[in-house]
């Protein structure tokens, strides 16, 4: 048992302040904000799925602003090349040398917009930087910035001319966050905020104060990784992931990365909640975003109109909560 340290309390406060700052501009997407923060604290990457115009770019910008991070954005298109993501070597006539021109992936927060529009070759250029935190240009490895996080977006409605992400790459994303339309009240607030005294159509992130330094983020991540987890909770997370492999609705279940991601995300969720220990509820809350892109429904279930989230809910209802 550990006494809550000063550092931990500070961390909780810092995270709360970040959350408040982002909520000031990103209206009505509290759950999405929380999940993105969780992914950042747990050093994971996020796949955001939602129709256009729900503030995905704004969210990333706001997050970058609140920790003074660098923000990069790539719009994925069918003709995007891997070097457009990572960077490339250029021959400089004056110095008669090759110069490395670093691509947009050299940043803290990378927004990969509509990632499924690019072919697999370009998508996999992201794999290295996501997993190894390094970028190889002309055979020379460069470390990615720290913290580094990818937020990839996908549009659920237009599937023509897209390249669905391969399972291996999907598995690299810690969370898949679904972003939905705001409620009526939230949308009213949003319209007021955007149209009052503003010329542009988008919300500005100027209102956000930088509350954390970029160098603090790795510290926060470290504290997150030290949040206490009881064996029973480990057991619960593993049982959830394992039972998805035998669950009748799924053609294939989640791999061990899912159990790892569940515990990491649950730790971050506990920190966000201001706790120094993880409860089974944290695991259960994070089960949907962690698992929904790692399982595939069987054809019969798809024909019956079952959604992945519904099948996961059924699974969670069957898995026993921890035994003590």
């Amino acid at each position: 048992m550990t006494e809550p340290t000063l550092n931990l309390n500070e961390a909780i406060q810092l995270v709360q302040r970040m959350r408040e700052q982002i909520s000031r501009v990103v209206v009505g997407q509290q759950q999405v904000i929380d999940q993105v923060l969780i992914a950042m604290l747990a050093t994971g990457h996020v796949l955001v799925e939602g129709v256009p115009g729900l503030g995905k770019t704004l969210l990333v910008k706001a997050l970058a602003k609140c920790f003074q991070g660098q923000f990069g954005r790539i719009q994925f298109t069918p003709d995007l090349m891997p070097s457009d993501v990572t960077g490339h070597a250029l021959y400089d006539m004056k110095s008669e040398q090759f110069k490395i021109r670093k691509g947009p992936a050299f940043c803290n927060l990378l927004l990969a917009d509509e990632i499924n529009r690019a072919p697999a070759k370009t998508q996999s250029a992201l794999l290295e930087v996501m997993q190894e935190k390094q970028i190889t240009i002309e055979g020379k490895p460069f470390p990615a910035l720290s913290p580094f996080m990818v937020l990839a977006t996908q549009n659920p409605i237009e599937q023509e001319g897209t390249y669905p992400l391969p399972e291996a790459e999907l598995d690299r994303f810690m969370l898949k966050v679904l972003i939905d339309y705001p409620s009526e009240q939230e949308e009213q607030d949003l319209v007021k905020q955007v149209t009052t005294g503003q010329v542009q159509d988008t919300l500005s992130v100027d209102a956000i104060e930088s509350v954390v330094a970029a160098t603090d983020i790795p510290k926060l991540q470290k504290i997150t990784a030290q949040i206490q987890v009881d064996d029973a909770v480990f057991d619960y997370a593993v049982r959830i992931a394992r039972s998805s492999r035998e669950w009748h609705s799924f053609a294939h279940g989640a791999g061990p990365r899912a159990s790892i991601a569940l515990i990491r995300a649950a730790r971050a969720q506990a920190l966000l909640d201001g706790r120094e220990f993880v409860t089974p509820d944290d695991v259960k809350t994070m089960a949907l975003p962690v698992m929904r892109h790692r399982v595939a429904l069987t054809a019969e279930m798809e024909i019956e109109g079952l959604k992945t989230d519904q099948a996961l809910q059924q699974l969670l209802q069957e898995v026993e909560a921890p035994r003590l």
Binding site: Q228, D281, A321
Partner: protein
């Protein structure tokens, strides 16, 4: 009209074959027929479109209504073209106004909505009959091919509507997918583009269908006349006559000449100069002759409705069959000689036996399944699963709990077994909620979910106590943070208020 110059092979055809031939003609002369339609119709369409600018559908309706005028020009052209290949469409076009306005009232009012319009049209246009004679003539023609003319109109108008939808769909296909247009029906109806589009599409459809419609009807008419006036025989004789004339065979020439005195024209067959009575008696004479009393035997398939074949009397047929079979069998045995007199009685006995069997089967089924209850489809309290006996690995049976929970918990606490003490309290609380308060908890519920359910369904006081207990329990179980002595004492003190059933009221 010179039958020998006809450009199709004359033979009696089945009406649909005739329509088919008409379509071949329409394909053959498609361009001139289209031009004959378009040259007069496009200006009319444009003018009416300008007149009915606000309501373009009226323009379409107007052009549709005067369609027979344009079609009569096409009809005149093909009727001439059929017998004289040298005719040019410009020739018909020059006379277009005369042709179109000829009998315009009949075309636009009397015959406009006739079901077999294209089939009727040649009677007015080519034979130039009017009034009663026209209807008599139509009656004669319709006797063999009226329904085909009707179907031609029905199919023609269906194809027109399909084409209208086709033009729509074509326009639809040109909308890029990215636009993601999701029309609803009301929006579509109120769209300003809808009616002009329908008008244009309707006009295109009429233009495309009209040559086929006119030619199909015309060939039906020609075919009907071939049947009635034996054009094919006539043509053969002509052929023979010219062949033999060439060879100087006088006998055949005489026969052929004798047959050739009928002058073919668009007009109906020439009437003989006989009085009504005379002709009537001749007709009767012919009708009484052997030609009209020939007995012919034909074999055809006919559908016989089994229900129409009534079973004798009111009894089911199979019973009679069975009775008959039984009587036939028994007749052979000497003992039952004369049993056929009792046929009716045997059938009644058989019926009674069968009914008895049915009742016996029902009785057996009721007896066999008497113990089985119908499945409970209600969603009442009974349908709920039984409360779990284990939750989070804790035994939740009431029997496993000590008589005095507080006493037992306090003694465990004093023995420094903090975890067991709190576990006992938590377990007792859950047991109480499940068994006494029937809270719908199941094994997948986490502690906080149990707490939320309790707060939702239970009185505030009990909810608050359970919330506090859960908080301590979570801290102890997952964070390994023991609670202080005071906190435990307070929990024990509050237990008495939690445990009471009457709080629920």
């Amino acid at each position: 009209m010179d039958l020998s110059k006809i450009s199709v092979q004359v033979r009696p055809r089945n009406p649909y074959e005739a329509i088919d031939l008409g379509f071949v003609m329409a394909r053959q002369w498609f361009i001139p027929l289209q031009l004959l339609w378009l040259v007069p119709a496009v200006p009319v369409m444009l003018i009416s479109y300008l007149v009915f600018m606000e309501q373009p559908l009226w323009a379409l309706l107007f052009v549709w209504w005067i369609k027979p005028l344009f079609e009569s020009i096409q009809l005149r052209y093909i009727s001439e073209k059929l017998f004289d290949d040298g005719i040019r469409w410009q020739h018909s076009l020059r006379q277009a106004h005369k042709i179109a306005l000829h009998q315009w009232f009949t075309k636009l009012v009397i015959q406009r909505l006739a079901f077999s319009r294209s089939f009727n049209m040649p009677v007015g246009e080519l034979e130039q009959l009017k009034g009663r004679r026209r209807s008599q003539r139509l009656e004669t023609l319709h006797r063999g091919a009226g329904s085909s003319g009707l179907w031609l109109t029905a199919v023609g108008s269906s194809i027109e509507s399909i084409l209208v939808f086709g033009v729509f769909s074509l326009a639809w296909l040109f909308i890029p997918i990215e636009m993601d247009i999701d029309f609803d029906f009301d929006m579509l109806l109120s769209s300003p583009l809808l009616f002009p589009t329908i008008t244009i599409a309707g006009f295109i459809a009429m233009t495309l269908v009209s040559p086929f419609y006119v030619c199909g009807g015309f060939m039906l008419y020609i075919n009907r006349r071939t049947w009635l006036e034996a054009w094919d025989i006539e043509l053969t004789f002509r052929q023979l006559s010219s062949d033999y004339q060439g060879r100087g065979k006088s006998l055949a020439a005489i026969i052929a000449g004798a047959l050739l005195f009928t002058q073919l024209s668009w007009s109906p067959p020439a009437e003989a100069n006989l009085s009504r009575e005379e002709s009537q008696s001749i007709i009767l004479e012919i009708l009484e002759g052997d030609d009209f009393h020939e007995v012919k035997e034909e074999q055809r398939w006919r559908w016989i409705d089994p229900q129409e074949e009534q079973a004798p009397e009111d009894e089911p047929g199979f019973l009679h069959d069975l009775g008959k079979w039984l009587v036939d069998k028994l007749e052979g045995i000497s003992l039952f000689e004369g049993i056929s007199d009792w046929y009716g009685v045997i059938v009644s006995i058989l019926e009674a036996l069968l009914w008895g069997l049915v009742i016996a089967v029902f009785a057996y089924l009721i007896y066999r399944f008497r113990g089985i209850k119908a499945p409970d489809l209600s969603f009442g309290k009974e349908a709920k699963p039984p409360p779990p006996s284990h939750l989070f690995g804790l035994e939740l049976n009431q029997e496993n709990l000590p008589e005095d929970v507080i006493d037992a918990a306090q003694s465990l606490w004093q023995q420094q077994q903090f975890r067991q003490a709190l576990s006992l309290l938590y377990r007792a609380a859950l047991t109480f909620l499940i068994h006494e308060r029937h809270l719908p908890l199941n094994s997948s519920h986490t502690e906080q979910e149990c707490m939320r359910l309790c707060l939702q369904h239970e009185p505030q006081q009990r909810g608050q106590f359970f919330q506090q207990l859960t908080r301590h329990w979570i801290a102890l179980a997952y964070a390994h943070q023991p609670l202080s002595d005071e906190e435990f004492t307070a929990l024990c003190a509050a237990w008495s208020s939690f445990d009471q059933e009457e709080l629920a009221s």
